[in-house]
């Protein structure tokens, strides 16, 4: 009788310690970070979708060097090839490759935008101005989604490194720290600021 009741006592204790050592919190936070990554990807995809139109419009309206335009198209094309699945977010090399590819697009776009500065007519042309506004908005969405993702990664990484969740992280899930993302965005300052001052 005493043996029996003692065995029943163990169950709630075990359940309690399970919840306290990261059996649940680790995968939840990992999923949260992965969900945030989906937003980052969507924002980059949006930028990739804008680029062909932007280049076409620029091509039609101004004598911008062919190499500048091709640079953007090529950087975009190679960035589209670099995929980063959510399972690779704990692989710093793969994250860096993605970062590099998107950074190249940002760099090429930056060069295009710098060139466009010399063509006030193009800058103020309706279609092009609209696309520029959308590009600026997209860069903003990239920035915000990256910040959100990094915050979620930090939260997850802190959890798997902190006692007692580290127990669940190490033993049950084999959790690896995820890699924060460093976004490079092109000439953020070139984009028109909405100022209602003067």
């Amino acid at each position: 009788m005493t043996y029996r009741s003692a065995r029943w006592m163990i169950l709630p204790v075990a359940a309690m310690s399970l919840s306290a050592c990261g059996i649940n919190s680790v995968p939840t936070k990992e999923e949260a970070a992965k969900a945030k990554w989906a937003n980052v990807e969507a924002a980059y995809q949006r930028r990739a979708d804008l680029i062909p139109n932007l280049v076409e419009t620029a091509k039609g309206a101004a004598k911008i060097e062919q190499s500048t335009l091709e640079g953007v198209i090529q950087a975009r094309a190679s960035a589209t090839q670099v995929k980063l699945s959510t399972d690779d977010l704990d692989d710093p090399a793969k994250v860096q490759a993605f970062q590099q590819a998107q950074g190249n697009v940002s760099g090429a776009l930056g060069r295009l935008l710098a060139t466009v500065e010399a063509y006030p007519d193009l800058k103020s042309q309706g279609r092009f101005a609209d696309l520029m506004t959308q590009l600026e908005g997209t860069e903003n969405r990239i920035n915000v989604s990256v910040q959100d993702y990094n915050a979620a990664v930090q939260d997850y990484n802190t959890t798997i490194r902190t006692f007692p969740d580290i127990i669940g992280a190490k033993i049950v899930h084999g959790a690896q720290p995820m890699t924060p993302y460093k976004a490079i965005t092109p000439n953020a300052n070139v984009a028109p600021k909405v100022d209602f001052g003067q």
Binding site: A129, G137, T138, V144, Q147, F196, G197
Partner: protein, 135 residues
């Protein structure tokens, strides 16, 4: 910065009556379109980009329906003299960034004159027309 309702006037540029009117207008907008739109003002951006600020607020506050991400945040920083209209990803194809900028251009003349309430209601009506509501 805590969400106070449909109008969160941290910069204190609206009277209680104006806030109530705008809130009522925004509630009507949500009733008709199911989209959620809020107004926010901040006393200082503290060197944060205004667009970044607005989008972060919308995300943190959870504006819009969760499964649609169709929220809209009109953020004004009167002392920095900057503003932004942030849209959720489910709204950005309807209220595109260039359309949002056009709305901003309708609002800023009122702001320049110090008439914030009129500026906001002009903006809300313009957005309403773009997104399936009547003024």
């Amino acid at each position: 910065m805590a969400l106070k309702g449909r109008v969160t006037d941290t910069a204190d540029i609206l009277s209680a009556e104006e806030e109530a009117q705008l809130s009522e207008r925004l509630a009507r907008y949500e009733q008709r379109t199911s989209h959620q739109m809020v107004v926010a003002t901040v006393p200082a951006l503290n060197d944060v980009r205004v667009d970044n600020f607005g989008t972060c607020l919308g995300n943190r506050w959870g504006i819009g329906r969760k499964d649609q991400d169709d929220g809209i945040v009109i953020l004004v920083a009167p002392n920095d003299r900057q503003m932004h209209i942030a849209t959720g990803s489910g709204m950005e194809k309807t209220l595109t960034d260039d359309k949002a900028l056009a709305v901003i251009h309708q609002m800023t003349p009122h702001f320049k004159g110090g008439d914030y309430a009129v500026g906001f209601s002009t903006g809300i009506d313009a957005i309403a027309v773009q997104t399936g509501d009547t003024p």
